[in-house]
Structure formats: C-alpha cells, structure tokens
Symmetry: C2
Subunit: 218 residues, 2 copies
C-alpha cells in the first residue's frame, strides 16, 4: 500500500494509526502542504486526487489498484478488508456510538481548523494572529468540551473512547489533541478525554504514527 501523507495532517495521522493497528506496512509518500505553494495543488497530485487533500491511500493489493480518499472512509475500508483487530464494534448501536464520536471531531472541530481555512481567515478576511488563534481554540475547546460530556456520561466508555480496545473514535481523537497542543488549547477541563488520550499514547501503534516520527517531519 502507498500512503500520501503530510506529517502534520491530522487526517493523515488517523490513517497512520489505523494502518499500524492493523499491522499494515506502507510506502510513505510525503506531500508537503506548505512548501512549493503546497504540493497538494501540483498537477501530479491533483491527477491522483482532484480534491487536493491528503491522505490518499493506494491499495495495490487489490486488482486493479484502488485509490482511496477521506480518512474515515479509508479507515472503514481497512476495517472491512482487514478485520483484525476490529476498529468498530459489532453491535449496530455501539458502531453508531463510535462513528458519532469520530464524526464529532471530524465534522465539528477539525474542518474549522485546517490549514486552508486558517489561511482564508488570514489572507482573505485579514484576521489578525490573535483572533485566528482564538478562533482555533474556540472550536477545539467547545468541541472537545461536548466530547468530554459524551465520554463521561456513557457506561460504554472504558479505557478507550469505547470499551477497552482502541477504535475509530480514538484514532480520530488523538490527532486532534496533538493539533490543539500547537495552539496552546486548554485541556484542563476534559479529564476523561485526556485519560483516554494517555491510554492511547501507551500503544506502539499510536506512538509510531505521531507527526515527529514521520519521514517528512521537520
């Protein structure tokens, strides 16, 4: 398999964790989102993914090779084609809970804080640095505050977001925590979230996926 990734991209980070949990080695293809005006906008990469987004996973064990986009869709594909260890529970109610937790980050927090949105704020709306950082922290802190309530209120929360094994929810949560640290987000009011984060970070699959340990890390 071939993974087009940027070391700092949270969405790429999710897929890296999933690949590690499944024990799948990949050929890592760095796409630098800043250098050269953003390599994701290069004609070569756009021919691969017209969205101009990372991650992209190419599964060449499939015949013909299949090109996959959107991190959560990639993780579901990996879970369907390489079932062990499972990244989603079997019961539909539990699956819905895990997916909802993942989407609470992937749809409510992360899209507001990615590079192209922050750039629009600065370049088009001429928002200053402090207001940009406040925007960033607002969505992370309010979003993770709601996430904390969901974890704290449910008997299904265990050592991880759902039970005692890592799932799609955890591999979406951990990159968001990392990302927020770069903007000094306040995590003092989300103890359950941080307990789960710490449990994840004891696992080798999460440790090896962090930005600093990627081939393109700066």
């Amino acid at each position: 398999m071939r993974l087009y990734s940027y070391f700092r991209s949270s969405a790429s980070f999710r897929v890296r964790i999933a690949l590690n949990l499944k024990g799948l080695p990949v050929d890592y293809q760095p796409i630098h989102l800043v250098r050269h005006g953003g390599e994701q906008h290069s004609p070569d990469f756009l021919a691969t993914n017209p969205d101009g987004l990372v991650p992209v996973l190419v599964d060449d064990s499939n015949d013909p090779a299949v090109l996959l986009t959107q991190s959560l869709a990639i993780v579901e594909y990996l879970d369907e084609t390489v079932p062990e260890p499972p990244l989603l529970p079997r019961d539909p109610v539990e699956r819905a809970r895990v997916r909802a937790l993942a989407l609470a980050i992937a749809c409510e927090i992360h899209p507001l804080n990615n590079l192209r949105v922050l750039r629009y704020l600065v370049r088009v709306l001429e928002v200053g640095d402090e207001a940009k950082n406040t925007w960033y922290r607002h969505w992370v802190e309010s979003g993770l505050g709601a996430f904390e309530k969901q974890l704290a209120a449910s008997p299904m929360t265990g050592r991880f977001c759902h039970g005692d094994a890592p799932t799609l929810a955890d591999l979406t949560l951990v990159p968001q925590i990392f990302n927020g640290l770069r903007f000094d987000c306040d995590y003092s009011r989300i103890p359950t979230v941080m307990r789960v984060f710490d449990a994840c970070m004891e696992l080798d699959a999460f440790k090896r996926a962090v930005p600093d340990r990627q081939p393109d890390a700066e």
Copy 2:
C-alpha cells in the same frame, strides 16, 4: 422513532431522506435553531444531546431506546438495522467511494457554513455581510467543484452519485445543493452534480424531505 430536527438543517435533511428511503415513519420533534436564542441550547435538549446539535434520532424500537447523534452515523445505523433498500453498496471498494463522496461534503463543505460558524464570523470576527456570503460561496463552489471532478471522472457514477440507486452520497449531496441555493451559489460549472441532483429530486423520498415540507417550515 423520534427525530429531533430543524427544517433548514442540512444534517437533519440527510436523515429525513434516509428515513423516507427506508420507509420508516417518525415522530418529528422540531428544534428551532434560531428562536428563543436557539432551542438546541435549552437545558432540556442538552440533556438529550450534550453536543447541542440536530439531528438526534431516538430509536425506541430498540430495548432500551437508543439515542443516536451525527447524521452520517445515524444513516449507517439505519442501513445496518433496516437493510432494504441499501444505502451503501456491498463491495468494500464501492463502499469506500460512497463514504468518501459523502465525507467530501460532510467534512469539507458543510462544517464551514453552518449557522454557528456564520454567527462566529459576524459576531466575533465582525465580518460584513458580503464577506460572509463570499466565504459561504467559496467553500460550496470549491468543494462542489472537486466533487464534480470525482463524479465526472468515475465510471461508477451512474444516474446517481454511485450507480443507479440513491446512496449515502446522494442524501448528503442534495441538502448541500439546497443550502447553497439560499446563498446564490453558482452551480453552472457542475453539470454532473446537477444531473444527479435532478435525478434525486424526482424521487418521492427526497421530495418529502425538503425543508419547505417539514412541520416547522416557515
């Protein structure tokens, strides 16, 4: 089943289409996102969903009753518990494509344009009306432009986003098109998308789900 919904909410609209396609009647509970300072912030509703977001689906055919959040997780739950007609293909590669199309809207376009984000732009960043509308159209038009390329390039695109029956991708696309119409988005450069949209709107399940036909429509 009980659906907490706001007539104009795109995420609620997705679930309404799915329920109609599955032939599932619901008890419709309107949550007005504007009136009374936003009914989603009321203590009653927050006790139901600490996220303070619609839609919420309560499935009381399950024992105990289950409360579901996040529209795409709700639709996957409905598809797993009421398999016919399927809203996702069976093949993992095709499922990944349908999910990626849905997420290209649910993660890349919609989160930037919902009510609370537009409010933050106006109230906190003091962005004027014209700049706010330009922001809105920027994400819709660039996002749907990438979506158009994906549809136009793939032999898997049929009468609908994927093949000749509606899927999760179509029920995510249609509300986004409706939403963009309110902001005069330019749809002249996305002919494949609009052809699929028109095909969807011939179906009763989509027609009955539109904002104007909900009990809380204004």
